[in-house]
């Protein structure tokens, strides 16, 4: 997801998003994509029969869906074109996840999908059904911060703070996968997270501190 690069210069008539939208609605390719994500919705029995190979028809109006977010089942009605990011922010009021580039180029909207970091601006909400979604709100809160959040505070791994939730999610996933990650692994784990304030050195320091506390990492910041 993180390597997706749409090179269209600006506002092309057929956007990546509208392509995805069309695909999710009608094409067999979309069904393959949905199937790859491990989820097929059972079609409503009262709905008209669907063509062969089409598992469900959604939209263009809002569809009732369920998402598993931070251990809770959330019900919402979204148009199929709504990204997971906008569903979180605009439909569920979960604004910790940030919208910055809206095209998978900056990592500010990083959430965990089944434990893996993904750009939530690159996933349609309807395609996130059946997956375990974790957002920055699910990682910890001010009273009980996740060790990565705590390390970010103490290393001052933030300035304006707008990239911070995405950075935290990327680092948390990397350290979950490799608790004693070293600097090089840590740098690559946030390679897709852009910070205009240039706060990366303190992000590395925070991550290394957590990795060292878990007993593994060698080497200096």
């Amino acid at each position: 997801m993180k390597s997706d690069k749409d090179k269209s210069p600006r506002k092309p008539p057929l956007s990546r998003r509208s392509f995805l939208k069309g695909a999710a609605l009608t094409s067999a390719g979309a069904v393959a994509a949905v199937a790859t994500l491990g989820h097929l919705n059972t079609a409503d029995a009262s709905a008209p029969a669907l063509p062969d190979g089409v598992a469900e028809r959604l939209g263009p109006g809002p569809a009732e869906i369920q998402l598993s977010i931070n251990g809770h089942t959330r019900r919402l009605a979204v148009e199929p074109r709504v990204t997971l990011l906008r569903a979180l922010r605009e439909h569920l009021g979960m604004t910790g996840t940030k919208l910055v580039c809206d095209r998978g180029a900056c990592g500010a909207c990083t959430v965990h999908l089944d434990g893996r970091p993904v750009n939530s601006c690159m996933i349609l909400a309807v395609d996130a059904r059946g997956h375990r979604i974790t957002t920055i709100e699910g990682l910890g809160n001010s009273d009980q911060m996740h060790p990565v959040q705590d390390a970010f505070v103490h290393a001052d791994a933030m300035q304006c703070g707008f990239c911070t939730p995405g950075m935290v999610m990327s680092i948390a996933a990397a350290l979950e996968a490799n608790p004693s990650a070293e600097l090089d692994t840590i740098r690559h784990s946030v390679a897709g997270n852009i910070c205009r304030c240039g706060t990366y050195p303190h992000v590395f320091a925070a991550a290394l501190k957590v990795a060292r506390a878990s007993g593994g990492a060698k080497g200096k910041t």
């Binding site: 910790g96 990682l139 300035q159 852009i194 304030c197 050195p201």
Partner: protein, 732 residues
């Protein structure tokens, strides 16, 4: 009534006694030898947990009941006449609640606002944009500086696109150049850079009765308030502007910019709150940029290695904006008896410039420092030594030595150059700024019966740690742990403050906070004195207690004093008085860079940066280091990657995204060592200086000098992309 006080200012290596005359109620300036409880210690930012957990609410995160989403139609033409705007089809879409024509006259850049809509969802607003029909009559345009300066070029406004020269002249440059033993002459160019604040510009606007409330992503809540009050014909007290958290600004977010005004107009038109945050592309096109520059530099030097003449002839284009000058560093960094600078702004049909982190200085410092290197080579002088000989600032003299030692300048300069494809190079550049702050801000300090202290000041935090700096100063003055202080900012209901720009926030606000805290302390001393059997003037506030200065065992806990507050709270105000006598009127810094250039691919990589700076009285080295890191990294981007690419045929920016407009990412980060000199600067009761801008002035210049050193030939254009490096290698 005033008091006359002599304070010991500066640095231990170069102290100076300064006598100041200040009002009776102004705290005595912090000075050398003072002992601090929290000032100067590494304090994590007070809003860190809110930011790390996603709880911090930015304008982007505000949601009000019944809120609509706004969106803007922008001109696809760089210059055109708008003949007609038809909103009817957009209004017919279910869920669209308002549509407005914004411009029905001349368009001057691609991206200019033409129309706007508000709808019940962001997707429906986007649908509505596509249904607005605009008839344009395209007109001849010009987006490049050379073309705009040519005879017969289309006029961006009216008449010539080339502005009147701004000339500054000191001594006689031509005569000094003619007499100089050594001369160099070269032309340096820099690109247009865009701010790319991660939180785009925008606002949530809400009319309620006769009052307008606007949450907006701004560096100046009071300037936005005043602008909106005029535009909507409201008294200022009927306009409230709130910026609780701000996702970056870098100079691009002052005043009621078009999207803020449009959000408010849509709110008025629809009768519902409207949120209008710009999409990323619009942010690149229309919300500001650092102008480009072409700088013709001539230097003269004598045989002793002293500069005798500096001449700059510069032009730059801020699109339809002005303010493209870059002469600052030429006049302020290296003293010289003969300095002439001439700056011209050229209008082009491109998005307006706006201030960007040390406006004019990174481009000026790049040309200045490259020319310094070229002159040093001509003089056969070590480049660092040449700078030493042309420095007169005692703080910078120490900084240069500290930096050179930490960086290993002598060893690295003496090391033989590799003959292989990977070559290393080093560079050094100097920074200056004048972040002494200004009067204007006020502050309120409130102690509650439960012992909490709240400070209020209508400033804003653009990411520098304003809340934290203010809380530290209050905690120091009141002898409290920082956890007992809450700093409330970003609201026009709080006491007035200035916009956050020009590295002014800390030096302008901390003295008002300190004075307010001192006034509050005086009131609490009056409450505590009878219980301690002492005069209020004999008391001090330390370690969470109010105690007798000469007998610290006689103490009462701060919280117990607060219990005696007659009502629920007691408060005191403070004001920022004008700057008084200081150690220095300016601020120095220097940065060293080491790079590696692959001569086969032309790719340059920064390996290490040593940055040495002073921040006046150091309040918090932890958050200050963050700012220096940020200044350095933004400078690396400016040196190697960033450029707004315009297609001159169609007049459009071709890279208005975050993937095609390349910023420094985690894999581009070198080792950065930050060193601070704690300079007690006086001038105010805190002597704090801002560092956001001085951190960035020298960064690109140091990298550029290092890249040129690596390949053995000057590259006189930024960004130093592989194609330029390969081209320079061919001529090396």
């Amino acid at each position: 009534m005033s008091q006359r006080v002599t304070v010991n200012l500066g640095i231990p290596e170069a102290p100076r006694e300064v006598t100041v005359v200040i009002p009776d109620d102004e705290p005595i300036p912090w000075q050398l030898g003072d002992h601090f409880a929290i000032v100067g210690a590494e304090t994590p930012r007070v809003d860190g947990p809110a930011k790390a957990t996603g709880a911090a609410r930015y304008t982007y995160d505000i949601a009000l009941p019944g809120m609509l989403y706004g969106a803007i139609v922008r001109s696809p033409y760089p210059r055109a006449h708008v003949k007609n705007v038809d909103l009817t089809r957009a209004m017919r879409i279910p869920g669209v609640r308002a549509a407005l024509t914004i411009t029905d006259g001349e368009i001057r850049f691609a991206g200019q606002e033409v129309a706007a809509v508000a709808a019940i969802s962001s997707d429906i607003a986007a649908d509505a944009l596509a249904r607005i029909k605009v008839d344009y009559e395209p007109l001849p345009f010009v987006v490049e500086m050379d073309a705009a300066s040519a005879d017969g070029a289309p006029s961006v406004f009216s008449g010539s696109n080339v502005g009147k020269p701004q000339i500054s002249n000191h001594g006689d440059v031509e005569r000094a150049l003619a007499a100089a033993q050594y001369r160099i002459e070269a032309t340096y160019t820099t690109p247009v850079q865009t701010h790319v604040s991660l939180e785009t510009h925008g606002a949530v606007a809400h009319f309620d009765g006769g009052a307008l409330t606007v949450w907006c992503s701004t560096q100046g809540v009071f300037t936005v308030r005043d602008d909106l009050a005029v535009l909507f014909n409201l008294p200022p007290d009927k306009v409230r502007v709130i910026t609780d958290y701000l996702g970056g600004g870098f100079g691009s977010k002052f005043g009621a910019s078009p999207e803020i005004v449009i959000a408010a107009r849509l709110a008025k038109e629809s009768g519902a709150p409207v949120k209008l945050m710009l999409p990323r592309g619009d942010e690149h096109l229309a919300t500001g940029n650092r102008p480009n520059a072409e700088q013709k530099v001539r230097f003269g030097a004598d045989a002793s290695g002293k500069l005798v003449a500096i001449d700059l002839v510069q032009r730059g284009s801020g699109g339809i904006g002005a303010g493209s000058g870059s002469a600052g560093p030429f006049k302020m960094v290296y003293p010289c008896p003969n300095v002439r600078t001439e700056e011209r702004n050229v209008y082009t049909n491109a998005g307006p410039s706006s201030p960007m982190r040390a406006p004019g200085w990174p481009q000026g410092a790049f040309a200045l420092e490259m020319a310094m290197d070229e002159m040093a080579r001509k003089l056969k002088l070590d480049r660092l030594e040449f700078r030493r000989r042309n420095n007169s600032n005692p703080v910078r003299a120490i900084e240069l030595e500290l930096g050179a030692r930490a960086f290993g300048w002598p060893e690295k300069s003496a090391a033989p150059k590799s003959s292989g494809p990977i070559r290393r190079g080093i560079g050094v550049a100097c920074a200056a700024w004048h972040a002494v702050g200004a009067s204007g801000p006020e502050a309120l300090a409130i102690a509650y019966r439960d012992g909490r202290v709240e400070i209020r000041c209508g400033t804003q935090d653009i990411g520098t740690g304003t809340r934290t700096a203010l809380a530290i100063v209050a905690a120091e003055e009141l002898g409290l742990p920082i956890a007992q202080i809450s700093a409330e900012i970003g609201d026009t209901r709080y006491p007035f403050s200035l916009p956050s720009g020009g590295s002014m926030s800390s030096p302008s606000n901390t003295p008002a906070i300190r004075q307010a805290a001192a006034h509050l302390k005086a009131k609490l001393f009056k409450i505590a004195a009878p219980a301690l059997g002492a005069e209020p003037s004999d008391l001090e506030a330390r370690d969470g207690a109010i105690r007798v200065r000469f007998d610290p065992a006689r103490r009462v806990a701060f919280k117990d004093v607060c219990r005696r507050i007659p009502g629920d709270s007691i408060s005191a105000g403070g004001e920022r008085i004008p700057n008084y006598a200081a150690y220095r009127p300016d601020q120095a810094g220097c940065q060293f860079a080491e790079v590696e250039v692959d001569t086969e691919t032309g790719v340059a990589r920064v390996l290490r940066v040593v940055a040495v700076h002073d921040a006046g009285t150091m309040i918090d080295p932890l958050t200050s280091r963050s700012q220096i890191n940020g200044g350095v990294l933004m400078g690396i981007g400016y040196a190697l990657f960033e450029t707004r690419r315009m297609d001159p045929q169609i007049g459009l920016m071709v890279n208005p995204t975050m993937d095609d407009y390349k910023l420094v990412g985690p894999l581009d980060v070198p080792q950065i060592d930050v060193m601070f000199l704690n300079v007690f600067n006086g001038g105010t009761n805190t002597g704090v200086l801002g560092i956001g801008e001085v951190a960035h002035v020298a960064s690109a210049a140091a990298v550029a000098c290092a890249v040129s050193d690596a390949i053995g030939a000057p590259i006189r254009a930024l960004p130093m992309t592989p194609d330029r490096i390969l081209a320079a290698l061919e001529h090396a």
